[in-house]
């Protein structure tokens, strides 16, 4: 055991954690909206809209995240037309490519989580709202969404942890996130175990925090209140 290496690499890895957290929070933020949007499309009665939303979630859940990042980072740059548009400002940066890929990926999983949450809402609740003369829009925003959030918290907590682990793939497109820096230190010092303990410890700590945060929220929004 090389404890000196563990101590000296800790600040470097902690610095890289900032990038991991930035990637995670940005993709979760955009992914939540995307997921909500597609969950609503899934509930649409029009079969084409419905199928389109299903296709989106099927493709992004059925392929590895690595393929998705590579298509966006290496693949889209190949289209000449894209290079001349404003989009190129975003797509030439690996940072934004990673966020786009993560957003699309987590959006697909989130849409499934939210859809099943919407479907478990008892029709009686919606009917009760209607018979009280509440408009459809308010039923949706004030009744359906809060119940759906409550229902989907445990599953969404898992998704956050999965996404946190997913951000490690950003290191494959040259980003120096926690895993990227860990790999760099391992390949220069050839001390994989020491670096794994420190980097893994940081990841576990984040998992622990997220896990407890979700537990707290679950309690706060539970039906008992």
């Amino acid at each position: 055991m090389d404890f000196d290496l563990m101590i000296t690499s800790f600040p470097k890895l902690l610095g890289a954690t900032v990038i991991t957290l930035k990637l995670l929070s940005a993709s979760l933020f955009f992914g939540l909206f995307l997921g909500l949007f597609f969950a609503i499309l899934r509930l649409n009665k029009n079969i084409f809209i419905n199928k389109f939303a299903y296709g989106y979630s099927y493709v992004f859940r059925g392929t590895p995240l690595l393929v998705q990042i590579f298509i966006i980072y290496f693949g889209l740059g190949q289209i000449e037309y894209l290079r001349s548009t404003v989009l190129w400002v975003v797509l030439k940066e690996p940072y934004w490519c990673a966020i786009i890929a993560f957003t699309l990926n987590t959006g697909a999983y989130t849409s499934e989580i939210l859809r099943s949450a919407f479907q478990t809402i008892k029709p009686g609740i919606i009917e009760a709202g209607k018979s009280l003369g509440i408009s459809n829009k308010i039923i949706f925003y004030k009744i359906q969404i809060p119940i759906a959030i409550r229902q989907s918290l445990p599953a969404y907590g898992n998704e956050i942890i999965l996404m946190m682990k997913g951000t490690s793939l950003a290191s494959t497109v040259t980003l120096m996130d926690l895993t990227g820096v860990a790999k760099y230190i391992i390949s220069t010092t050839f001390k994989p175990i020491e670096v794994f303990i420190v980097a893994g410890g940081i990841y576990l700590f984040m998992t622990f925090v997220i896990h407890n945060l979700i537990k707290y929220l679950e309690k706060k929004y539970s039906f008992q209140q």
Partner: protein, 230 residues
Amino acid sequence: MELLAFGKTGWGDELFYATLMTVAVSVTAMIVGFLFALIFTPLKLSKYKTLNFVGNFYTTVIRGVPELLVIYLLFFGGSGAIMYVASIFGYYEYIEINAFITGAVAIGIISGAYSTEVFRGAIQSIDKGQFEAAKVLGISKFVQFYKIILPQMLRLAIPNLSNVWQITLKDTSLISVTGLVEIMRQSYIAAGSTRDPLFFYSFAAVLYLLLTYISMKLINKLEVKYSRGY
């Protein structure tokens, strides 16, 4: 389409073999994972706190740390660890483990953690009376497990194991970083030499979709088989 031709002119045959490699690694990793689950599920269900701790430590660490980090640990540390063990037995030559074994073991350790959780959940949801009834009838522990617990457990475990299989299948794309030529690595090579990454990575995505689709169909059949009588 020329790009996908078989033979020397295209990448069709290479990608075909790469797909077989992905399937081979996934199946091996799944089996390695079952072996890990076989060790750690009893630990998690054990009466003893220390054994419980060991089981929980494994599943918590592996499920809380990115897959890529586990792969790097084994890729850079695997042969070192084996050489260390070998040196105890007096063997000091350089040992290199091939990429297939490194990959299958790395992904196996990960899928094992998920399988352990699935088996633990399945065993715990079997009614206590079943164990007691078997005991009262004087059935040996071995027969009790194979004839009474296992068949009931499988029915409950298969839907969740199918999720583990999907995760494992997708995780194998990560071992392309170690140089094993599976779908992802082959697409990377093809994309590099033809300068057509968009096509090859999209094609890789199609191959993965195909694999997940076919395995879903097969697993559904298994599910029907094991839930007959319900």
